[in-house]
Subunit: 147 residues, 2 copies
Amino acid sequence: MDDRVDLSILAEVSRDPRATLAQLSERVGLGVSAVQARLRRLESEGTIAGYRAVLDPEAVGRPLSAFIEITPLDPSQPDNAPELLEHLSEIEACHSIAGDAAYILFVRVAGPRDLEALIREIRLSASVSTRTTVVLQTFYENRPIAL
Amino acid sequence: MDDRVDLSILAEVSRDPRATLAQLSERVGLGVSAVQARLRRLESEGTIAGYRAVLDPEAVGRPLSAFIEITPLDPSQPDNAPELLEHLSEIEACHSIAGDAAYILFVRVAGPRDLEALIREIRLSASVSTRTTVVLQTFYENRPIAL
DNA sequence: TCTGAAAGGCTACTGAG
DNA sequence: CTCAGTAGCCTTTCAGA
């Protein structure tokens, strides 16, 4: 399912999703039609889940980011925290994890006041306790996959 | 710097970076030329830092992800861990954080054996101790910004 | 700074080998 | 998968408000 050429296309598309078929064709060393067919397959199979622009968090008014680990207050209750929190747009990611907490969230906010408000909202919405780790500096993120 | 129209363009481009100027123009309610000019500015200013394809981690052979908190073994030594670890392509993100540890990494690997090897490599490369939290399930990530 | 139009280039797509 | 041919759209530019 993932031969050498597919991986090459994925790496290239990951790095520059706006490239034209002709450009990809050249970089990958395959005919345009072949690249087109593979790209379609990769998209319809879900290997390529979508495309995103990477925005400067500061420029869009979200200079502060943090990790928030959450733990249900009452373990006997049904736990659908990810669903309950999905509407909060400040939450960029939600994973369930092994370890002390049940989930870890990655969030982006405008500042400390917004972070406090968000934490309160999370506690109320999902009936959880939280443990927040503020990000001081981001050295890199969203790195494309390597060949 | 970020008026209503810019944010609208950013939200749209964030969701669908492969849209043409004509499509963006229609969705944003602005002439093609105006959208083009704004887009160029947003790109050259760095507000749009780049474009990425979102790949299915399983399909590209990285079904296991984890957070790794790292702490320098010798606090008196100069600390340039992010630089020392940059060459490890399994590391997708690196943040410095407030709290017990100095940094937190987000990594993607093929399986437990690879995770163990990566952790060893990190400890050696950067002279740090590590604390790893395995991700069990990812409910969402890379969510685009909202208006 | 935006709109609108015009032109040319290039793109995606298809079908045959 | 490659190679072409075609139709259509896209980017770019420029003048004007």
